[in-house]
């Protein structure tokens, strides 16, 4: 009798547990964290509870994962002119290479939740993975004779995907650049649309033009801040943000317009914001649980905005709970770009690199620009490097400069910064050395690079060799 009861209890509990596990797997919810098989990489840990961002299909296997990778990172790889594109490996002629390293799939090298084998750039292969295919590199490049394969990617010479600032021709072209260029000006900092480009007719507004109803005015400062902001200068009135559906719902007043309202005009900024670490949790289509079911046990739930508490790098102690939205850095009504460029960053970040900024040569440029010593566009702020301006051309051919809000865009790896940012003012030799020196980065580039990356010397040697051979001929 006792045994019967025990059996019954066990079968019931096991079945109930099984159903609970299945329900959590299907519907989602915070309980899914028990399925995490290991610490998520710092690239993805913010969205780890939105499992479906990567595990796009139930029982989807490797192809579902691939879909997840490409959804977020596909465009980026295209833009980076990927050195090892998937197309190279799905070519049947390269089947032998696939047998060595199945580079058709991102997860061959980038396996998530595997802290034990995760290296820099979330690579989960041993760091000498280049040896799998490039054992014979010294045959064509005698300079590489005897180099260890774990130094290919770690010493500022090569990347698996993005070699835009590292490939030989580029080095050759820029090998002679001085450390500091003649004109030290941040590109696009003073960009104005070409004169022939059609401009929307906009009339600058003043405080008296504010169209908010009297009972919605709030404190006077809001109106005053707005009147001095770019919004007022560009003719965007109160209703522009607070009444986003003015035409269809004239009575509606949105107290606190969200990022979606910003995005109606600042489309590219808003989009890139959700691509970086600051806004990735607000990307469309991420959900923690997606169905209202089981008597409210599961409810439609997305990820709340990022807070510094989630960060894995040092943050200020007093801001852990601050949610990161557009207004966190830009401040409602005032929209002070200067504040957003440095102070906003400093209000949360507390790592050495950030803390060293005020003592850095870049900051002294900012100060000198402010005091009028240097022309406009000389100062280098946090945003200059981490949220640089890009020039894009839309479908109608209209040129537009926009500030990318993906702070992470040029950091994976940091050589990506060379072309887009550093090259404006610095020579390539100096840049490569500086970016390969972690201690210097910590000091926010106050000082000289301690090490020298020899790749550029080898390029020069090859150039000399080539010249000699040409002379002999």
């Amino acid at each position: 009798m006792r045994n019967k009861i025990l059996w019954l209890v066990w079968v019931t509990v096991t079945l109930a547990g099984g159903f609970a596990v299945a329900a959590v797997m299907y519907y989602g919810g915070d309980l899914r964290s028990v399925f995490l098989i290991g610490k998520t990489t710092s690239g993805h840990h913010q969205i780890e509870m939105a499992c479906d961002a990567c595990h796009t299909d139930m029982f989807g296997g490797i192809d579902a994962l691939q879909k997840g990778c490409v959804t977020c990172h596909g465009d980026e790889l295209k833009a980076a002119n990927d050195s090892h594109p998937r197309s190279k490996f799905i070519d049947p002629r390269n089947a032998d290479r696939v047998a060595v390293l199945d580079a058709r799939y991102c997860v061959t090298c980038h396996r998530e939740h595997q802290p034990g084998i995760t290296n820099a750039m979330a690579v989960t292969l041993p760091t000498d993975y280049c040896a799998l295919c490039h054992q014979d590199v010294a045959k064509n490049r005698p300079s590489h004779e005897g180099l260890a394969f774990d130094t290919c990617a770690s010493s500022g010479c090569h990347n698996f995907h993005d070699n835009r600032a590292l490939y030989e021709d580029f080095l050759e072209k820029r090998h002679a650049e001085p450390d500091f260029k003649e004109v030290l000006l941040v590109a696009l900092s003073n960009w104005v649309p070409p004169a022939d480009q059609p401009k929307p007719e906009r009339k600058a507004l003043a405080a008296l033009d504010a169209d908010a109803p009297a009972d919605r005015r709030g404190v006077l400062k809001h109106t005053a801040d707005w009147a001095l902001s770019g919004h007022a200068a560009a003719g965007v009135n109160c209703s522009g943000c607070h009444q986003p559906r003015k035409r269809t719902r004239p009575d509606e007043w949105v107290e606190a317009p969200d990022a979606k309202v910003c995005a109606t005009c600042h489309t590219a900024e808003a989009k890139t914001f959700t691509e970086g670490k600051h806004g990735m949790r607000q990307r469309d289509g991420l959900w923690v649980s997606r169905k209202d079911d089981f008597l409210g046990l599961f409810e439609d739930k997305g990820l709340p905005p990022m807070t510094p508490a989630l960060a894995r790098i040092p943050m200020q102690d007093n801001v852990h709970a601050t949610e990161l939205t557009c207004n966190t850095c830009h401040g409602a009504h005032k929209y002070d770009v200067k504040f957003a460029q440095i102070e906003a960053c400093e209000s949360c970040h507390a790592d050495d690199h950030t803390k060293a900024f005020r003592m850095s040569p870049h900051n002294s440029l900012v100060d000198r620009e402010a005091s009028g010593d240097l022309p406009k566009g000389s100062g280098v702020t946090c945003a200059t490097c981490h949220m640089p301006k890009h020039l894009v051309r839309d479908d109608y051919g209209t040129e537009q400069a926009f500030v990318t809000h993906n702070q992470n865009d040029n950091l994976r790896p940091n050589e990506k910064m060379i072309r887009a940012v550093c090259a404006d003012c610095h020579g390539l030799r100096f840049t490569i050395d500086a970016l390969a020196d972690p201690a210097l980065i910590k000091k926010n580039f106050k000082g000289k690079p301690a090490h020298h990356v020899e790749s550029i010397d080898w390029v020069e040697n090859r150039m000399r060799e080539r010249a000699r051979r040409q002379q002999q001929q």
Partner: protein
């Protein structure tokens, strides 16, 4: 006086110390005088307690003189009733001679000690002879209390206490037609049974509301009364005797109700009074008895008192068990041995009264009036069974039982230590009459060491076990060594059971192989749990990439499902006892060995699957549960393999098999495995 002492020394010392010189022990202790100059220990009274003191001292080769005031050999008072009924002969009433063969013991029957001369350290007998002593033990017992009822000195009024009384009663029983016993206590009922068995119409008069008022409650007393009715004994309770009337001889008993019972014999059994006059006259402190401390010492450091005449902590104990415990404490102190101090007794009455098993122990007297006590009772009137357990604050402090109860030994043990009792045990008692789950241990061999086998002498199962380990093989050996079964003899069958087959635990089949594989499994489980994870390879150029075992998805699937298969094989052991067909595939011992081998393989396989990486969250739980399962399984295997050694050695007499606990824990930990495993496999493919 001095001459007498010398005479004693001359006359007695050679006789008692003949052939065996003083033991080294006593010589060392009394270092200043030669042994023959040292006066012996005197024991006054040859009742059970006095006799025990004398015997125990003599075993330690200490010279003893025992004075027995009665004209009989020392006898066993408990056997007096059977003697009265004719169930035993006089030889069986006498105590067996348990003294050591080379003992320095002298016994004087029919010699009463009149006074104690503390100044001169001598005891003076009825003839005026002085007996010098080094230590004196008073064990004078008690005498019947005859209340001051008019007519209690008439002819035909008897008491029931000693051999002389019984002698008189035997003679009287042939002529008596109706006997009235005044007092419904233990002695009264025994006397009534004795007389009744001789064909005498017997009445018992008890002034309290029930029989055996000090041992039983109302319901139990009524059951005893009913049992007496069946024997033809009339029991009247709430009856007070006004007077015993008659002209020179007893003719009737007048009750306070006015009723008159014609009779020709009256036996007064109204309790006992300690014989403490000798101590009082010697100036020792007395209360109801002679006041003693935890070593049974009176306020004279050389004089002790044991048995019924001693009062410890305000209690005089009238049963043989406590008397023997006191004797032990007293002897330990006299000999300077490190013994346990006497701390009072919790006497258990466990007797056959008028043919009914009566058990009473602990605080049962005032149970119905005390609000701090709870009690749970159960009865089966048809079978004449009644059981009641008294509980105070969750601890069992007393019990009453009428009729047979297999759990009595355990219960007695529980009351002794005031063990905790659970509500469901009480519930079980209330509904089924049994306290413990399952059957109580049947054979005395299975009893716990602390369980009392002989209630009269307080000998436990453990003491008997030790005696047997020391070489006792016969009943006589055991009796001599432990004194068990030397009083009432009811435990003799238990002793014989114990002696009958001292079964030795046998090893289980394949025990050596089982030990090896279980040990291996335990070692592997510990290694897996505590050794750091196997490092991952740091180069793709390594010749042997062992880490691919736990990186490559395909290899992981292969090893994982192989493990799953092994687990199923290991789990099949449960089928053998559930599906008959499987029993044909070899005996259980073989199956268990295979289970152990598969278990060890499983843990080894776990390394191939995980490389000592214990996993996070769900995987971590699975790993933890599985390792604990394996470790406990290995432990169960080891314990099973060496169980015979445990049972023949340190765990002798264990009530449950030592393997039971780890085996159950092993089975219990198996419970979450299927769910965790299913979730593990499902999530691997789901995500």
């Amino acid at each position: 006086m001095f001459d007498t002492m010398r005479a004693f020394t001359r006359a007695k010392a050679p006789a008692t110390a003949v052939d065996n010189g003083p033991s080294a022990d006593s010589a060392a202790r009394l270092d200043t005088a030669s042994p023959s100059d040292i006066p012996p220990t005197l024991v006054i009274g040859a009742g059970p307690a006095g006799l025990r003191v004398a015997e125990e001292l003599s075993r330690a080769a200490a010279p003893v003189v025992l004075f027995n005031a009665e004209r009989w050999h020392p006898y066993n008072r408990i056997k007096l009733t059977p003697f009265l009924t004719g169930e035993v002969q006089i030889g069986q009433v006498y105590q067996p001679q348990n003294a050591a063969t080379d003992a320095c013991i002298s016994r004087y029957d029919g010699l009463r000690i009149r006074e104690i001369d503390r100044e001169n350290r001598v005891a003076v007998d009825d003839y005026g002879r002085a007996w010098p002593f080094s230590r004196l033990v008073i064990a004078t017992g008690s005498r019947p209390h005859v209340p001051d009822i008019p007519g209690c000195t008439l002819d035909g009024v008897y008491t029931f206490r000693n051999f002389d009384d019984v002698e008189r009663l035997v003679a009287r029983s042939y002529r008596s037609t109706r006997t009235v016993v005044i007092g419904g206590g233990l002695l009264g009922l025994e006397a009534a049974r004795g007389m009744s068995s001789k064909g005498v119409e017997t009445w018992v008069l008890e002034h309290e509301s029930r029989l055996l008022p000090r041992q039983l409650d109302q319901a139990a007393g009524d059951l005893v009364a009913a049992g007496m009715e069946r024997l033809g004994i009339t029991a009247r309770t709430l009856t007070r005797v006004q007077a015993i009337e008659g002209n020179g001889r007893v003719e009737r008993v007048a009750l306070s109700s006015g009723e008159v019972i014609p009779c020709d014999t009256v036996i007064v059994c109204a309790g006992v009074r300690a014989n403490l006059e000798i101590a009082r006259n010697a100036g020792l402190a007395v209360g109801r008895g002679i006041t003693v401390d935890a070593h049974m010492k009176t306020d004279d450091p050389d004089i002790y008192a044991v048995g019924e005449c001693a009062e410890f902590d305000g209690h005089c104990y009238g049963l043989v068990g406590p008397g023997l415990e006191q004797a032990q404490a007293c002897v330990d102190h006299i000999l300077g041995r490190k013994g346990t101090d006497y701390a009072g007794s919790l006497p258990a009455t466990r007797l056959k009264v008028v043919g009914i098993d009566v058990f009473s122990m602990g605080e049962v007297e005032q149970v119905d009036g005390d609000t701090r006590l709870n009690s749970v009772s159960w009865s089966d009137p048809a079978a004449g069974l009644y059981r009641r357990v008294i509980v105070r604050r969750g601890r069992v402090i007393g019990a009453i039982a009428i009729g047979k109860w297999a759990e009595i030994n355990q219960l007695q043990q529980m009351i002794k230590i005031q063990a905790r009792i659970t509500p469901w045990q009480l519930r079980r008692l209330r509904t089924t009459g049994l306290l413990m789950k399952g059957e109580a241990p049947q054979s005395v061999r299975d009893w716990a060491d602390a369980a009392t086998v002989c209630n009269c002498t307080g000998v436990t199962r453990g003491m008997l076990g030790q005696a047997m380990a020391a070489g006792c093989t016969t009943l006589g050996d055991l009796q001599r060594a432990t004194c068990a079964s030397t009083v009432c003899g009811t435990c003799q069958p238990l002793l014989q059971d114990l002696l009958g087959s001292e079964a030795k635990a046998e090893p289980v089949g394949w025990s050596k192989s089982l030990l090896v594989f279980s040990g291996l499994a335990a070692l592997l489980a510990l290694i897996t749990a505590f050794v750091p994870a196997w490092p991952y390879s740091e180069s793709v150029q390594d010749k042997l990439r062992v880490d691919l075992l736990w990186i490559d998805p395909l290899i992981k699937q292969i090893t994982g499902f192989t493990l799953l298969g092994f687990m199923v094989i290991a789990a099949v052991i449960g089928l053998r006892k559930r599906i008959k067909m499987f029993a044909r595939l070899g005996g259980y011992n073989g199956w268990r060995l295979v289970h152990g081998i598969v278990g060890a393989l499983l843990i080894a396989g776990l390394f191939v699957h995980t490389g000592f990486h214990l996993g996070d969250n769900l995987n971590g739980w699975l790993m933890g549960a599985f390792l604990a399962l394996s470790a406990l399984g290995a432990l169960a295997g080891i314990v099973t393999a060496v169980e015979h050694r445990l049972l023949n050695g340190p765990l002798k007499g264990a009530k449950t098999a030592p393997r039971a606990v780890p085996t159950w824990a092993h089975i219990l930990l198996l419970w979450p495995i299927p769910l965790l495993l299913a979730a593990h496999v499902a999530t691997v493919y789901f995500y």
